[in-house]
Subunit: 469 residues, 2 copies
């Protein structure tokens, strides 16, 4: 089970040339090798360096994905699945070249099973387009990472977002996937039953595997009824610690929050500017409650009492749907707001997740690390889950600043691990956190790698991600 | 990835003799080879034939489990983990002999993290003893299969029970496990963070793997606050279809039932006799609602309106805690009630799970199969999940009756699969459903087996389960 160093990844020039020739012939207009498209398909939204694939192909069906993988398998050429390209950890980079498989044209909503609260979609469907489609059915899909990501990509990185505290992450919301495996075979991991004890949980083997075991081409996912009543509100706190302690106590009291989001003052300031809001420049908790009319009122009251204990402001409630949408859109655009704030700089983002009892301490110490290093690094978080992000702005021409940011990022992760947490709550490992994953999992990483080698012996499935191979 | 026929499983006599000698020396009083203990450790509660291990060992620590597995690995001797021996699919049988590792003495509750709503336990802790321990903390662990099973065994079979409709199964409630792998190495699959995107989901690789990939020795599992208000009640229906349709509509309406259990008339009759109740001999839904006082009242009202539409009786509410406990104890003892009813006969039990839209049809047709075959086969089910059980009584000396029961069981499973369901909702594959798993998963079973071969190349971990190897 020995792992090789990341430097061992070599381009297979002859294989790539052969595969490119065959695929060009086979896919015609749906196969491109232009530099701009290859650049676009290795864009990682972060400070990580782009590594271009040799070509991009746009399959229309699972069978076409299978055909592509079979051709690449024969010639031992890497395949890199591409959804919307919003990975924060270099997930779509092609360190040994190969073929980017862009699934955006596989965007059919195959069947909505309203009575079973599930839907089958192709992997290229984005979360926003799915919810648009579902709106008049009284149903919604809750998992909402910052980007309008594709559902296939979200499954691959085990994404979550603001609703996870109530509705779970992709781990809980994916019922089954159809995937093309490394030999080109197509499997469906499960039927539509809500639960099953039938064999290994291949669904959850693939969810979070970041394209390294198979390419997800279709998904069956859980839907939820749009609640009878929704109330969103803002509550401001004197310190991050107060906001975290309010969150902790509210979670422990079993108040069923649907969303509970933290923004520090830097984040609030940039959101104000980007989304033209005028929120007070204080530590913010942005909340949402779902339920019956009475249920939501109960939750609001209970939460308000806890917030008051920790010096929280009176609530500002977003009464109308429009106002609520405006607030959450601003929250979802937070990453772009920070980007705008950072001007020419890029971001080294990190996200960690700790048991909620450690949250206040973890966030407070992280803030101190960032300010001690003299960096601009707003903190935002899905604090109901104990999950938060730090976005550290770095000038790509300033090697010293990059080194400083990397040092802070390492401190953040090592602290989270020391608090019984994880090196990433929702962004994934990609290239950026390979070493941290190895530290987090100890011998476990060897067993992960054994699974990788068993299912993809030639290492053609998104190589150079998750493992130092 | 070729799979061998189950007949290829051979006893490794020399290896077993060597391992038995070494283990006897090493474990002294905690190692036994008496026939009665070996019989007890292959008792499967069902009609499946017992296959005895060569010895039973009672480790006290994870390190001791590791020592045992290392000795067995060196001599290529099977290890079969044993919790409470309540598998319904031959999970603890030893078709090629080997060592039964009884984890019941590893029964420490290591740490209750009340503020994080989780607990770390050793694998031998039973669900009832955990809940006893938690009672005065206002917390509980919801997963409740019929038996008072061990939590390690429950994780291994991805167990669920009556609360799964609201709280999920072991899949959702296990945060991390410590496991001894086939080479004796000890891994911990995750820390205590509520969510993580860090690498493959080894937790869920092991949950449901039935001891074929590793032996779970410790678990971190999620706890839930005991709700402010609980209401349990009985509602009787003219037909199974009416009861199922009530369930379907209640689920679709988003009424947050905590439990919704179906019993057919045969099941009600035997529960009456066994638990000394006097329930009317009609189709029964046994329900429970959790929430705030107001929330529970809302749920009761909404459910009552739906039940009325389908001819449901007025509710009989169990007002006191004692009355509620009595009802649910009767439900949990249902299997033993049926056993008592069946006299000398044994049971061929099967459990399937279908999308809820197919539930009424699936249960109704199953009832017809059973009565057409002239068998005694009560149906009970966790119908909120689309999951139900049929227990077919068979005289072990009557080969014709066994053949009839097997034919009916096959029909039940094949119908569930044709309805986009699974061949087992919560019992697992074990030995009894190996062929059905192969049908359900198609090529997927090859990838499961590739994982098995990668993590356990000598096939010493509970061999002869899940796969026809």
């Amino acid at each position: 089970m020995a792992r090789k160093n990341i430097k061992d990844l070599k381009r297979n020039e002859a294989g790539i040339a052969a595969a490119v020739g065959i695929l060009k012939q086979r896919f015609g207009e749906k196969f491109k090798t232009s530099l701009s498209l290859r650049e676009q398909h290795s864009h990682t939204t972060t400070y990580l360096r782009s590594q271009l694939p040799d070509a991009v192909v746009w399959p229309q069906t699972t069978q076409e994905v299978s055909d592509i993988v079979k051709i690449c398998a024969e010639h031992k050429v890497p395949v890199i699945p591409f959804g919307t390209g919003t990975s924060l950890e270099g997930g779509v980079n092609a360190p040994a070249g190969g073929i980017s498989i862009d699934l955006q044209e596989m965007n059919a909503i195959i069947s909505v099973n309203a009575e079973d609260l599930d839907v089958c979609v192709e992997a290229g469907v984005t979360r926003e387009s799915l919810n648009q489609h579902l709106r008049d059915k009284g149903l919604f899909f809750p998992v909402d990472p910052g980007a309008n990501a594709s559902l296939g990509g979200m499954a691959s990185t085990r994404a979550s977002g603001t609703n996870a505290v109530r509705y779970g992450t992709m781990r809980e919301n994916v019922i089954a996937v159809t995937a093309v495996m490394a030999d080109g075979r197509i499997i469906k991991t499960a039927n539509r039953a809500r639960k099953s004890s039938s064999g290994y949980d291949l669904t959850r083997v693939l969810v979070g595997s970041e394209g390294t075991l198979g390419i997800i081409t279709e998904l069956t996912i859980r839907l939820h009824g749009i609640p009878e009543a929704i109330a969103a509100g803002l509550c401001f706190f004197p310190t991050v610690e107060d906001a975290c302690n309010t969150t902790i106590l509210a979670m422990q009291s079993g108040i069923g929050m649907a969303r509970i989001e933290l923004m520090d003052v830097d984040a609030v300031a940039s959101v104000n500017r980007y989304s033209k809001l005028d929120l007070p420049l204080q530590i913010l908790l942005l909340l949402e409650f779902h339920g019956s009319q009475d249920g939501v009122r109960e939750q609001q009251k209970s939460f308000g009492e806890i917030a008051e204990e920790f010096g929280g402001s009176d609530f500002q409630w977003a009464e109308s749907t429009e106002e609520r949408t405006r607030l959450w859109t601003a929250r979802h655009n937070c990453y772009w707001a920070l980007k705008a704030e950072a001007g020419e700089k890029e971001f080294l983002t990190t996200d960690v997740c700790v048991p909620i009892s450690h949250l206040a301490e973890c966030v407070t110490q992280t803030q101190k690390d960032i300010s001690d290093a003299g960096l601009y690094g707003p903190i935002i978080g899905h604090v109901g889950d104990g999950n938060f992000h730090a976005a550290l702005a770095v000038d790509l021409d300033d090697r010293e600043e990059i080194a400083k940011a990397e040092e802070v990022a390492e401190k953040i992760v090592m602290r989270a691990l020391s608090m019984d947490g994880t090196c990433t709550g929702e962004h994934g490992i990609g290239q950026g956190k390979i070493n941290f994953a190895a530290i987090e999992h100890g011998d476990g990483i060897d067993f992960m790698h054994a699974i990788k080698m068993a299912l993809d012996p030639d290492n053609i499935m998104n190589p150079g991600k998750l493992f130092a191979v």
